[in-house]
Point group: D2
Amino acid sequence: MAKQIKTIGVLTSGGDAPGMNAAIRAVVRKSLANGLKVKGIKKGYMGLLNEEIIDMDRRSVSDIIQRGGTILGTARCMEFTTPEGQAKGAEICRKHGIDGVIVIGGDGSYRGAQKLSQQGINTVGIPGTIDLDISCTDYTIGFDTAINTAMEAIDKIRDTSSSHERVSIVEVMGRHAGYIALWCSIANGADDILLPEKYDYNEQRIIDNIIDNRKKGKTHHIIVNAEGIGHSTSMARRIEAATGLETRASILGYMQRGGSPTCKDRVYASMMGCYAADILAAGKTNRVVGYRNGQFVDYDIDEALAMKKNINEYMYEIARIL
Amino acid sequence: MAKQIKTIGVLTSGGDAPGMNAAIRAVVRKSLANGLKVKGIKKGYMGLLNEEIIDMDRRSVSDIIQRGGTILGTARCMEFTTPEGQAKGAEICRKHGIDGVIVIGGDGSYRGAQKLSQQGINTVGIPGTIDLDISCTDYTIGFDTAINTAMEAIDKIRDTSSSHERVSIVEVMGRHAGYIALWCSIANGADDILLPEKYDYNEQRIIDNIIDNRKKGKTHHIIVNAEGIGHSTSMARRIEAATGLETRASILGYMQRGGSPTCKDRVYASMMGCYAADILAAGKTNRVVGYRNGQFVDYDIDEALAMKKNINEYMYEIARIL
Amino acid sequence: MAKQIKTIGVLTSGGDAPGMNAAIRAVVRKSLANGLKVKGIKKGYMGLLNEEIIDMDRRSVSDIIQRGGTILGTARCMEFTTPEGQAKGAEICRKHGIDGVIVIGGDGSYRGAQKLSQQGINTVGIPGTIDLDISCTDYTIGFDTAINTAMEAIDKIRDTSSSHERVSIVEVMGRHAGYIALWCSIANGADDILLPEKYDYNEQRIIDNIIDNRKKGKTHHIIVNAEGIGHSTSMARRIEAATGLETRASILGYMQRGGSPTCKDRVYASMMGCYAADILAAGKTNRVVGYRNGQFVDYDIDEALAMKKNINEYMYEIARIL
Amino acid sequence: MAKQIKTIGVLTSGGDAPGMNAAIRAVVRKSLANGLKVKGIKKGYMGLLNEEIIDMDRRSVSDIIQRGGTILGTARCMEFTTPEGQAKGAEICRKHGIDGVIVIGGDGSYRGAQKLSQQGINTVGIPGTIDLDISCTDYTIGFDTAINTAMEAIDKIRDTSSSHERVSIVEVMGRHAGYIALWCSIANGADDILLPEKYDYNEQRIIDNIIDNRKKGKTHHIIVNAEGIGHSTSMARRIEAATGLETRASILGYMQRGGSPTCKDRVYASMMGCYAADILAAGKTNRVVGYRNGQFVDYDIDEALAMKKNINEYMYEIARIL
């Protein structure tokens, strides 16, 4: 029989992502509407272990839906990867009367939620990462904002690249995942794209492509390079040497993690927050919310962590044809 | 046996939407990659009847993916709603060697495509409208840009509404559909929402809600009103009289139809353009592209026009709870 | 001999404007750096009369420089236009130990500051209004943000106007002043401009201009209309009737008053806040800060209120030629 | 007696800057209104020497005011720094009937204009550079757009910096000039600022400041570093080692040179373009347009190049106090 939940906690963990505040707000307000008490746990699992726990009401989350970052803060926490840390975390939950915890973050954060669930604290995960690299879901909080931020930056780089008839390499975020690079390469009409998921990196092919395009009269050349490939600066140097064309690298960096969330990130984060609040209230545990085939769903965390995700091949083909 | 397609035409019809240029670009480039010739038909069906038809190559669609509006122009055309107009349109296609036409627009535009198909010209429709009011698809080109434009405007209105402790009614587009209103009401944390799909409009309830919120200490009150409800200005007057609180209406208007498309609109419009180009090349006709359950699909236009679409009830509930 | 100032108050009054928070932040931090105590007076003169007065320290103004609106709130106050109200206001200042007040607002707000100064409370005004309609200064807080907001909206309207070959009338804010209209008409390449400062309004001339431009092949026609002229909707109806061309009006409305301030508004508001804090600390009273001939300066309020301001004729000529 | 001008040329030279297109448009249209013919010279002085010269009419500059970059292109040109190159340039002007040339660019571009003037071709310069590093003027085309682009990026970095309680070093453009850094440090409320104009770089002071702020409860620390100082990445490594706090560098890069120009950049570039067109039409030569003390003015190029410019000390003080 499902455990009855009276008080929940909410935390954000791992890298922050725009829309996390919308999710926190939804978790708090939907849980209150469901008749529960809500506590905010600051700075992820580290804050849990340090008992940085605050009471939250409707007003605690006023005027935050439009803000980047996370009002709860986030941090990485080695201690919580140990059995002792996990037991201590569950103990602190019990001490504060917290029956269930909603964890907003990525795969690493779900592993924490899994352990907490094993320790008797109900948990539900919400996918929050700009990288989209969570296998069980087609949507992660922050991705839509990040691709728009990167795209707008690349639009600007294209202006100056075109005026100077320059080759530009733009490195976008994504750690080991190339989703931001793939989307931007289509959205920005990039001439070349480099993804960690594709093992066909061939600098000579890029160089030939640049020379070929220049002959056809194209006045600029944009290469979108994923963080997982990296080395944009040295690549620029080699391409400049090989083509004789001015070549510059831009590494977009941390700006991609911030900013006021897009409409989609605010709305989907709100819906995922409500969904998570509802299933936690219903007594579910060790679950993670996902968006799959056009619907919000939930999976067992163990299953979710075992899933694999691949770059959409048709999308990758389109990125190279257009 | 499928008709062999050698030359296609592309046109935009009905209200314009950001992302239409991305779709045109994809149609042109993918069709060329598929070995076809491409012609652009200007100003929708009216331009077809006036033979405003131009040759298009890869360069014709350079540097347009980031632009709002449609480079082909669009117009309404009464003549094409008549059998004579439709026959004439098909005749002109044949005269120009156009075997198939891709039509980017809404339901009205599909009816034209349906008739053209009956006249022996293959047709494929792509959903392009900021209103999202096409039943066969979860995505329409321009909606994502429109909701972000509206949301950013409402964010700004909230700043001044809050400084003056004012009630603000913001009227967003959508003709008979409330999707823009629904998304913005969640994304902007609106206090009230009025949708044409919901017949429970009750001004006294809104007035009570305002007074109630004011007592709880909330310093502003945002009402998102859909165009299909309208009458924002007179509503503001009545609410001000009833509550004694300064109340102002803003009608966002045509700015919602323009602007550089968001990343999602650029990418999905590109994918839909490629998809349409591929099925037209494969000899399909009287089809419309859709995005359903997380996938790009296509439907028979007759079936597509017979479908119904409803506001997501869970989303509407969330809009009111949060 | 200059009165010695130990504690100052700061308030915002009249219509809010983006950048007011930057000015408040600068007033508070510079005054603290000058060794003074600072109190915030909420909701303008009304809040003063209601004794809504709070202590402010460095942290009170953290994380506000990027926000639209005013954290202190603003309101209109009839009572403070009476001698009794003014005497009461001065009395309340004395009760709270406030020796000097910095007032951020427009001409109406300066009149209040003038009266307060006559009652023995030192005062310094800072020009805050999106309308730029303060005679003693070339810069007012919020104008730069407002023109960018309006310009971006008109850019979007132009996209759709061009796709539909439509005539668009866009009404921008400015009450009796046409500065926003003038700047936007240049920045947006408008075809016609209507300003309250120019008495040559002639609808037939606009109609002729539209027909003339259409003959030259121009596919859209943008008219920027100032709020002080107004009547955009009926104008659109008449122009449509006279030209036979689809004509639409957009009234941009309150969004022009909000939004995160531009860099210029943040920087100049910060500098004006510091300047005001410094001259108040130095014992000056009945002064208003201005930006004139490329420098921050201050004027006696009586003189400032007597100044006149005119539309730059060369700018107006350029608006019509380009 | 002033030489009579019948045909002018216009070129952009050096680094591109948002607003250059607005200036080109104004030069073209005002010159046409002044009864002159106009030719566009592509890719700066290099294009002049290669005779890349095109006729321009009113329509050549339609729909460009809102675009970043320069439609004429720009390039660096060693040949034009030689007397032979300069004589050849003047000869080509004469061959094409060009009596006067308007050069949009920075100091280096003015030197070219100076030489061309000595060769008998009238010249007028317009200051175009995002760096603001031209001594004779308080305004340069592109600076306003660049500071807003940088500021918005830093706002986003602040979100994530705050969520992670991180130290962030943001490197902004400006070559040898610190103006972008100075403006952003005020606009973004930076905690430290490093300018090439100030020789007090002291890493220990920054480290002490970080530790001090952290003790006071500040959760993030933003350092704005000018390109002229550079070395942000190694600085981040040393600061992280010294403070034990996560420290990250972001180098904003080329995005600062592009993007749709702000309202101020569009308007001032338009006015400078008109001003330059007028003085060139009036027979002036070897002049450069400036904005000084709130007015558009012009200087002899020799004098302009001899002027010095300094960082505003009051502004620098404010940047450090606020």
